[in-house]
């Protein structure tokens, strides 16, 4: 990695440093956002413990990545490395990638196929469910050494996480007593989720990975903030994929933590007044040479041409026209996070549909016409927060309302998320 110089260096970097217990919220309730939400090491510690390792479902992989018994992929829940396996009985297991013997993060390949999981250091061997099944020289050699009689391998398996799946995606939780994924998401969010993950078999197209020098919550906010889409993303506005005034909804689940932005692209000509409001975001004179990238092949029942679902705490489900993908958030301290993108189509797509999705993928990802700008904007924000002292941001668009809004000019979904977050973090 070459970005160390630009990201977190622990305690010293956020100038607005706060000791535990000193997190006083500024006046204005959720219309004001203090910097320490994004810069404090103590807040980050609580987030890992209470959110990622707490009662949440964390996305870890797609079933299409491990179709056969013995298939595995490396993944993570917050910064904890896990291995996602397909067991011999076809069941899915998520175990920590940490040998019970000396703690080695022993699985080093991103994906593969194996009968057993073996730590190379001392060849402790686990089955695909994480059970310890082999300890070399357990009884010593020629009566010497080895483990004592009361050493019990069954107490030294790889810690396993709670697992659930729906429609082809796999989720894991450190918590034992978790609600079903259906109850966790709620009816309205489930409907958006099921549109992409309908059970139609997925075909993986490939991966992107990038490291964004900003707080992980800024990524949720970016997708709960339809305001920016109509102003920052000149491409989106100029070529009509999303404009202020479009038929749209910024949906929020009853708990406030999940969200989904849905919008329908307009075909109406842009009025002079609307063009003026959009300012620099709308450039009337630009024309594409190859407009196939804007084609939309209707394939779902819901009305939106774009949906971006924020699935708390670590997943974004992307559908922009016909480009589909999931983005897994891996937090790396308060000042950075990694994004693992898995782009896919469906197994029954013909070649032209696959190529259409691949062409349209130019919109998204770390080099996407929209993706570049979101990454850059988040970096700008984190730089602003970390280099000044005790700042407060303004999240007052749409007044003080929270919950679902039927338009794009609001930050209500951000406020809803922080209503939930403040309760969990205790600030």
């Amino acid at each position: 990695m070459t970005i160390e110089s630009r990201e977190h260096s622990g305690n010293g970097n956020g100038r607005g440093r706060h000791e535990p217990g000193s997190f006083a919220w500024p006046d204005g309730d959720l219309t004001r956002m203090p910097d320490w939400v994004y810069t404090s090491d103590e807040i980050y510690r609580r987030e890992v413990e209470r959110i990622f390792e707490g009662p949440t479902w964390n996305y870890v992989a797609l079933e299409a990545e491990i179709p056969n018994p013995g298939d595995f992929v490396r993944s993570s829940v917050a910064e904890t490395q896990v291995i996602v396996t397909r067991g011999t009985d076809g069941g899915i297991h998520v175990v920590q990638n940490r040998c019970s013997h000396r703690g080695a993060e022993f699985c080093r390949t991103p994906r593969g196929h194996a009968k057993t999981l073996v730590c190379p250091y001392h060849q402790w061997t686990y089955d695909l469910t994480g059970k310890l099944i082999g300890v070399p020289f357990r009884r010593g050699l020629k009566g010497q050494g080895g483990y004592p009689q009361d050493f019990k391998p069954e107490n030294h398996g790889l810690p396993a996480l709670n697992v659930t799946t729906r429609g082809g995606a796999i989720f894991a939780s450190f918590a034992k007593d978790m609600p079903s994924i259906e109850d966790y998401l709620g009816t309205e969010m489930l409907e958006v989720y099921d549109t992409v993950f309908s059970g139609r078999k997925l075909r993986i197209h490939g991966y992107y990975r990038n490291s964004i020098p900003g707080n992980w919550k800024l990524y949720h906010e970016n997708l709960k903030d339809p305001y920016h889409a109509t102003l920052l993303h000149v491409y989106l506005v100029t070529f009509g994929l999303m404009r202020a005034g479009a038929n749209a909804s910024m949906m929020v689940d009853p708990s406030g933590r999940h969200g989904a932005m849905g919008a329908t692209r307009g075909s109406a000509p842009v009025s002079a007044d609307a063009a003026k409001q959009m300012g620099r975001a709308f450039i009337d004179s630009l024309k594409l040479s190859d407009e196939r990238i804007l084609d939309f092949v209707p394939e779902f029942r819901e009305p939106w041409t774009v949906t971006m679902q924020t699935f708390w705490p670590n997943l974004i489900i992307q559908r922009e026209l016909n480009t589909l993908g999931v983005r897994q958030i891996v937090p790396r301290g308060p000042h950075a996070f990694d994004l693992y993108w898995t782009m896919f189509g469906y197994e029954d797509d013909d070649d032209e549909m696959t190529r259409h999705r691949l062409r349209q993928a130019n919109l998204m990802g770390p080099a996407g016409f929209l993706g570049i700008e979101d990454s850059e904007a988040i970096e700008y924000v984190q730089d602003g927060l970390r280099r000044t002292r005790d700042g407060v941001a303004v999240t007052e668009l749409g007044g003080r309302e929270e919950g679902t809004a039927k338009h794009l000019i609001t930050e209500a979904a951000i406020r809803s998320m922080y209503r939930h977050w403040r309760e969990v973090i205790g600030v």
Binding site: G206, N210, I283, M343, E373
Partner: protein, 169 residues
Amino acid sequence: MNARPQRSASPVQLRELRFEIEEFNAEYANTLDEFDLDRWVEFFTEDAFYRITARENFDHNLPLGLVYCEGRGMLKDRALAILKTTTFAPRYLRHFLGPARILDVKDDGAIEARANYMVVQTELERPSQILQSGQYIDRFVRAGGALRLRERHCVYDSLIIPNALVFPV
């Protein structure tokens, strides 16, 4: 993959061809260092295929591209999008290219070649960093006597991209 080209070219011709490709690549790299994306498009044929992808995709035959352009129209549109619509912080880029290796010269004159590349990015107030380390996997053809890229796959080893990849490589 590492077979030496046998047909249709003598060792001397191959050496000249290699020199020609390296001149081409040097111009290509300089064009990108200068952010001249309109000229960048001209290095390709009308029906060119251009893709930037992570090695984890390439090695597993996964078709995704970070940038995925079928035809010169899409290359032009990428140039237009980056130069005219995209917001990003100012930066300098410097492309460092290794020697070209010719893998094969086809009967129809198409040339399969490879070259290692490295792109160093420098942003304001930040030390220079390696943006990508990878390999061009190319197919050249001749159009009106001049070499043009019919295919360029930029396959990068450095899987995690620091924030965003703004310009083509």
